[in-house]
């Protein structure tokens, strides 16, 4: 049982690490700001989500598990909103030029 749980944690965390890697590659390699924004917002949210998923079985108490989930929700909310704001700012600037 505990082996299966550990394996699940490792798989989820490994996948999370992969998405962080993908996000960084996108940030460095993609040609313009909008496509970088597009790739980044998705991949870092998914990366953190998978890490949180992998850590959930290791959370000591239900409260700390709940905190982990709330934390992911907060990051998703702010990162999605910031992506909207940044996108709008980029478009405004593009129109002004």
């Amino acid at each position: 049982m505990s082996l299966a749980v550990d394996l699940f944690s490792l798989l989820a965390i490994g996948a999370g690490v992969f998405f962080f890697l993908a996000g960084t590659v996108a940030l460095l390699r993609f040609p313009d700001s909008l496509s970088r924004l597009h790739a980044l917002t998705k991949s870092d949210n998914l990366g953190l989500g998978l890490v949180v998923l992998g850590l959930l079985p290791r959370a000591g108490t239900p409260l700390s598990a709940l905190k982990l989930i709330v934390l992911w929700g907060l990051v998703q909310l702010s990162s999605a909103s910031v992506a909207q704001l940044v996108g709008a700012a980029l478009r405004r600037r593009g129109a002004a030029e």
Partner: protein
């Protein structure tokens, strides 16, 4: 070398690299962005030093609220023409030599710290039960070094007075400029509407658990302050008129309540700033509640800056 050491070394290298970028960047804005990232990583360093209370303070104030202050300042100051000529080579070399000597001496001091290290931890723990607290850091802040912490609140109020007094005479008593654009994006308003209630719950929880777990008045107050800031950036609320009596009363309530309880000490417990036995914990939470209020008001007012509108009728 263990994995922990490798992680610590990597963290140390990134922190120093970001600090170097902060001082080397040509544009002020790039420097500030480096500094915000640096503050974030510093919070992780504090966790590695087994200092979650400090890490929380650094995350909330060092990175969050300072970030807002500096980013806003740099976008306004960055547009100005540069007035100064860079210093000459002689000054640079002298400054580099001085900095190397100071850093070297500090590093040597770190290396030759007394061993075994002196520690007040057992002392702090010995009387902690009498205060009813479980978090020794909160105990030091509110009970053992309470006079210090009270004066620190006074310093915060003085800083607010200092920022206000920068305003031109005609704006005295008016309100600071709004923190957000006249027509904020819908996404920003949405973010503020959802984030603020959740943040208020988390901030109050951090203050409440601070008696026994990492957290406390500073951390909870800083989170609440951040929530007020984002609400003002989304223009859901406006900075208050600084002439408002209620605002001024709430600002000084933290140190004032602290001082009153301290002055009552000789009557109730036999000495200045002493808490009566058996009644210490409720008293400490009472003081802390007003400190939270003071901090939650002070930090956003410091970010909002001096008044820039004339006082209304």
């Amino acid at each position: 070398m263990t994995l922990f050491d490798a992680l610590d070394l990597a963290l140390a290298a990134i922190v120093l690299g970001l600090a170097a970028w902060t001082i080397a960047a040509r544009e002020v804005f790039s420097a500030v962005v480096g500094y915000v990232a640096y503050g974030l990583l510093l919070a992780i360093v504090w966790v590695r030093l087994y200092a979650p209370d400090v890490a929380l303070t650094e995350a909330a104030i060092g990175s969050g609220v300072t970030g807002v202050l500096l980013v806003a300042a740099s976008t306004r100051l960055g547009r100005l023409p540069k007035a100064e000529a860079p210093p000459g080579a002689a000054l640079k070399i002298a400054a580099a030599a001085l900095s190397l000597i100071v850093a070297g001496l500090l590093a040597a001091a770190v290396l030759y710290l007394p061993d075994p290290a002196p520690s007040l931890a057992p002392e702090a723990d010995k009387d902690l039960a009498a205060t009813g607290l479980g978090n020794a850091v909160t105990g030091v802040l509110i009970a053992y070094r309470s006079f210090d912490t009270m004066l620190e609140k006074v310093v915060l109020v003085l800083a607010v007075v200092g920022v206000w007094s920068v305003a031109p005479d005609r704006f005295w008593g008016g309100a600071p400029a709004p923190l957000g654009p006249a027509a904020p994006e819908a996404a920003l308003v949405f973010l503020a509407r959802i984030l603020a209630p959740i943040g208020i719950v988390i901030g109050v929880q951090m203050f409440w658990v601070g008696a026994d777990d990492p957290g406390g008045a500073f951390q909870g107050g800083a989170i609440l302050a951040a929530m007020w800031i984002i609400v003002m950036m989304a223009r859901l609320a406006e900075p208050p008129r600084i002439g408002s009596g209620w605002l001024r009363l709430a600002l000084v309530s933290g140190p004032a309540v602290f001082l009153l309880v301290g002055l009552a000490g000789p009557l109730m417990a036999g000495s200045f700033f002493a808490f009566p036995a058996g009644f210490a914990k409720p008293l400490i939470l009472f003081i802390e509640a007003f400190m939270v209020l003071s901090i939650a008001l002070t930090l956003p007012l410091l970010v909002a800056g001096p008044p820039s509108r004339e006082a209304g009728p």
